[in-house]
Amino acid sequence: MRFNNTLIGLMTALLGLYVFVTGYRMPGLAHLQFGPGFFPCLIGIGLMGTGVGLVIERWLSGAPKGIWFEIDSRLRSSQAQTGVLLMLGGIVFYIMVSEEAGFLLTGAVVLWGNLWWFWRRPLAAIFVSLLTVVLIQISFGSLMKVPLPMGWLEPIQGVFSWK
């Protein structure tokens, strides 16, 4: 999604204003001349200045007005939309479900969904996704002691090598 520089500039200036105000409102410390809000204020000023600079730069460049932002033409195809939805939706799904259902199940589902769509071999994708999550569970979970959630498979935790 491409934004024109005026819009980027305005968004940057607004963000800068927010950062400046938040920094300015931060309580200072009695024994410190420069409190925790001082640096955010500087960054806020920098953002506002950059935002204004971007707006002026575009204004001076004489670029055509009217188009505030445009969506990548490739994103208009349903194939691209499905692909992006599957990839980003897969990550969101993992974030929301993995603690409850566990890494093995959620990871396998997310991976299979993406492999099915992008690799176009649904049966082989089942094998690859199961193998991958088990390998990750062994390497991260067992060898590196990362507590990947077991979720619904908790009752059988320890039966296999991923204890």
């Binding site: 963000l15 925790p36 600079g53 897969g90 993995s98 990871g107 991976l111």
Partner: protein, 499 residues
Amino acid sequence: MEVIISALGLLFQAEVLLAMLGASIFGLAVGAIPGLTASMAVSMLVPLTFFMSPLVAISMIVAVSAMAITSGDIPAALIRIPGTPASAAYVEDSYQMTLQGKAGLVLGTSLVTSAIGGIFGTLCLIFFAPALAEFALNFSAFEFFWLCLLGLSCAILVSSGPVLKGVLSVLIGLLLALVGLDPVAGQSRFTFGSTDMLGGLGLVPVLVGMFALPELIRFAINPLPRLIDNVTANTKHVFKGLFKALWPHRVGIMQGNVVGTAIGALPGAGSDVAAYVSYAISKKFSKTPERFGKGHLEGVAAAGAANNSSVGGSWIPSMVFGIPGDSLSAIVIGVLLMKGLTPGPTIFTKQPELTTAILLSFILANLMLLPLGWLAIKSSARLLTLHRGLLMPLIMMVCMVGAFAITNSVFAIVVMLLAGLLGFWMEENDIPTSPAILAFVLGPMVESNFLNGMLIARGDFAQFFARPIAATLGVLICMIWLVPLGVMLYRKYRAASRS
């Protein structure tokens, strides 16, 4: 001498060597696949290094960066698509040589000059870093503040695209670094009441998000299964006749070594800039500049040496001052800090064996480059025709688990996702992401040095120019910003007065 022997003992342990071997193969594979960069390879590796000893962790990163940058030359030569941005400078020459039936020669040249460049950069690091570190022991908050600012300024000026967007990128990085507890008073900022955010956003989720996720999203939008269907180039003779072919270009290779190391040592500039500058110098001083871009070995040899020597060079400011030379060394600083090692002048005196072992791992990685790079060239056909529909979802899964592994919390995956969307939006709008990463790493240093300096100076900013080195650095930064502005205004004035 005793330190070197102890360091060799540390380095030549089975654990370190095996880790380096595995990381090298990974780096070669990632670098050879167009679209996957050296920064992405290193950022994917960082979560693994969290569970390893400092030497194993750093030597793996060293191996990955050297291998990925070099193997980026393989697709550049074979299919005219640079594997990493560092190979883009001489892609035309490499590909033209392949069309002339000299794929083996050009890939052999890339391999050997990369190894020479890497070793040269490391030797500079070994010889200059300790001396500079001794000098840097006298530095105070003022000097470190200016050095951080120098790094950020260079990152803006050498980044692609308009300067204002480079500035915006740095400010975004600094803003992200503000999240969490402030480094001086310990008060929470921009956490929105979330306890997960008190410790900051975390280097790994932000890195993985900004470097890996945009590439995954681009693939999801345009899922080309393979960039090519088959590789027909002849890569039979990689080393045959190489010495004879390279000998006439020995001065160019030396130029590439020196330029690459110097540019790498400049805070903010990386291997891609080094390769472009070295290629341009090579063309400028060549007796046959008209042959550049048409399959001439001279530019490939010089720029190939430059991009790998810059890796060693970029570690000079990282190790000596704790200020990253490029996005790769920014990651290294993050890893060193995670391991409880503070990069800076004292690292050479506090842990001499470990530091020497890290430096020696550079030489070992560059020596390993020759046999492993040869293997990568031989298996290039398989690597380049790998189905991306299989590869990208696996990368996505590794990124999610890698981000989770650092804090054992799904919050890190949320950060990775948001950082990825931000990185994708930035790249789509010509806002470079590397300065943001550099600023994210440098942010706490800039702030703490600035505030400490202001406290020492009792609010008098003129004190930042009171010490000789601080004043020199301060003036240098002012010149970096003001001289190009002055030249631009002068040119506009001349043009206006002529018309």
